[in-house]
Amino acid sequence: MTRSAIRPKWVLMLLAIALVAAACGDDDAETTTTAAAAGTTTVTTAGDDGDTATTAAPATTAAAAEPMVLVAAQGSEPDTLDPHLTSAYASFQVLENVYDTLVQPGDDLSMEPALAESWTISADNLTWTFVLRQGVKFHNGREFVADDVVFSFERIIAEGLNGWRFGSVESVTAVDDYTVDVTLTVPSPNLLVSVAGFKGMAIVAKETVEDGTIATNPVGTGPFRFVSQSPDGGIVLEANSDFWRAGEGLPILDGIRFVQIPDAGTKLTALRTGEVDWIDAVPPQDVDGLSSEAGITVGRVPGGDYHYFALNQNRPPFNDVRVRRAIATAINRTEIAEAAQFGAATANQTAIPASNGSWHLDYAPYQSADIAGAQALLDDAGVADLSIDFLVTSDFPETVTQAQVIAAQLAPLGITVNIVDVDFGTWLDMEGNGEFDAFMLSWIGNIDPDDFYYAQHHTGEWANFQGYSNPDVDALLDAARVETDSAARKALYDQAAAMIVDDASYIYLYNPDNINAWSDAVGGYATRGDNAIRFVGTFLQP
């Protein structure tokens, strides 16, 4: 009995000591906070005073000695840092700043030089010759040469998730250290977008693939060098002083730290309190409030992503185009976009948004919320008491919201919508097995019209889960694929797009805005139409 009586005493004493320790710690913490806040205020004032003197001024303040490190908050965690094997947007946010591609989408999404300084196309349109930039170094100090392009492309073709982008490529060969030939089986006017549209097509260093470090320690040629990744420190990058644009003073930042904050509310708070400088996405319902807040800038650009749903044409009555048209005209796209994106989106009856100037088609044949017209089409098809199993996933919560709105909009027609809400893993299974009357999702990151239409609407293609087949559309898409004249190509795609919309292969809904937000201290950053996160020209004002 005596022994057991001692233990509680001992425990209580330990608790008391710990309590005192915690109390002291708390005091320290508060002092630090106050001091830090005061420090920030002073520095800001000094910065404001010296603003006109620009770069010369900070040298006189103590703050200039501090490395200029941007803290960027991501909503999800990168799965792997191997650009050829990841499909996670969080990974690409980091890798965008570590790797380069042969060419890259510019601010207007037209392709501009990157690792390749220039390129020429042979007379038969079957050989593209790329002239590489000389003197570019990987982050490990080795010079970048043509063999790296060949190695990277062959790796993507052999095992990457993006091998399909090389569908028309016959071979990639190094002519000399600074020249690469890409030979094709058919003319491919969209080759640049295919092989360099995003960082999934990055040029990697062979040695990092061979020793297996590429997944955890990416070595590229980009503006920032990978330093470390840990659960507490996030992903740390530092400026690459040997960057091939160092002559232009790029990059400006000394480093970037990517932290992962999965909860959207916490992420916003962290931006408001100054714990982070930049956040990757803003919940649409917060955009208006945040835009009017002092000290925060919201970047908002019409994006190239599109939201849609499709009816299963392998199942009656959805194989009847009248039924599909009835549904396409009964819905109200503006209302759907308002409910799902709080207005941070543009309703669209086709796929390609107006911001993609080269390929946009202004075509909207369907009346909005035309219940009478829809009823007439259904009567004509002899369909009544229709019931739709609508496949959505709460991993993309907007699909659930949209399905609910659509259910309400179709109710006046006597259509019952059964919302089947599953997790994304299950969703992909069910989509692949054709277990749906309708499914809904979005396509992201497309630039070239071939990416918008071919795999989704060509007969028998892999993404044509809805079972659409129209020989005229197939012929147009096949012809447009190899048409090298831009105007002629655009005309072919316009015809195909109009047919796809008329046949309601997909029922297109809207293009959402791309939205980032950052503190006013951040300069030289802009939200992009392709959602690439580029910090190469970004800086922090004191």
Partner: protein, 314 residues
């Protein structure tokens, strides 16, 4: 004693084996194919077949299980399907944050629950007892996702006393470590503490009604001395039991709180593994969680023996 220990450790190993079989079976029964998830919407049959073969997912279920078990016995839990990192190191690198939060939350819980439960029992039926009961009812009913968000809005956004999220290693900065720890620890600690308070109250109340307490009172001992020397030693076993259960639960990672506070613990790792259908990672994480739970149970049993020698006999 050593016989008791050997028996318990053997029981624990059998339980772990059972857990591994159940988890392996459940994971494979859940719809959703990891290769399909990895490929996303870009599906390609050849690539799909290649990835399945590479990860061994094309082999029969039983064969997969025994291959995994064989490796697991040598301490190798396999490679994560998504990023080819060893599962063991992915789990281990999450441990410091998980253990820190678990013990900090338990600390908050005990600091709240012990005095509250004792006072409540001593003042049983009085206004103070009702006040404690009401407060613990509130604590139990308050969802962690709501409480956490409220604390962030108040202490991080409005008052700016504490950071809203993240984790800093103790070795890097003890002060920052503590500042980042306070809000998540309080969020869970108050909920856990509310549960423990009720057990403390009923355990103390029961001991207070024993004859030896009446005898002690008759001897004229002070109330505090009675509680310290006669009541608490006898109330200790149920309290240790519930504290042990709470700790086991905390060590498994706390998905909701870890998400709200961006805390890099096991809960978030397991959540990501479920979403990605990263079978090997999920299997490893669950096995670890079961191991922690069983180990803590074992420790609790050993503490029983110390507290009350009668346990050893039975």
């Amino acid at each position: 004693m050593s016989q008791f220990l050997t028996k318990r450790i053997l029981q624990m190993l059998v339980a772990l084996l059972g857990v591994s079989i159940v988890v392996f079976a459940l994971i494979h029964l859940v719809p959703g194919d990891p290769v399909r998830v990895a490929l996303g919407t870009r599906f390609d049959q050849d690539l799909y077949d290649m990835l399945r073969e590479r990860s061994g997912l094309d082999r029969p279920f039983i064969e997969q299980y025994f291959a995994w078990l064989g490796n697991a016995l040598t301490g190798d839990l396999g490679l994560s399907f998504r990023n080819s990192q060893p599962v063991t190191s992915l789990v281990l690198e999450r441990l410091p944050a998980t253990i820190t939060l678990a013990f900090a939350a338990l600390f908050v819980a005990i600091v709240v629950a012990l005095p509250a439960g004792i006072i409540s029992a001593v003042r049983s039926g009085k206004p103070l007892d009702y006040a404690v009961s009401a407060a613990s009812q509130v604590g139990i009913s308050m969802p962690d996702f709501w409480a956490g968000v409220m604390y962030i809005l108040l202490f991080a956004l409005t008052l700016r006393w504490l950071p809203s999220s993240g984790y800093v290693s103790f070795l890097e900065s003890p002060i920052e470590w503590l500042r980042h720890l306070v809000l998540p620890a309080i969020t869970i600690g108050l909920i856990s503490g509310s549960v423990i308070t009720r057990f403390v109250r009923s355990a103390v109340l029961e001991a207070l009604n024993q004859d030896y307490v009446r005898t002690a009172r008759a001897k004229g001992l002070s109330e505090w001395r009675i509680i310290r020397r006669h009541v608490l030693p006898n109330a200790w076993i149920p309290i240790v039991t519930v504290v042990g259960l709470q700790l086991g639960f905390l060590m498994g990672g706390l998905v909701v709180v870890e998400v709200i506070f961006a805390w890099p613990g096991l809960g978030r790792l397991a959540l990501t593994a479920v979403k990605d259908r990263d079978f090997t990672l999920l299997q490893g994480a669950v096995l670890y969680i079961a191991f922690m739970f069983l180990t803590i149970n074992l420790i609790v049993d050993l503490i029983y023996v110390r507290l009350d020698p009668r346990v050893r006999v039975s």
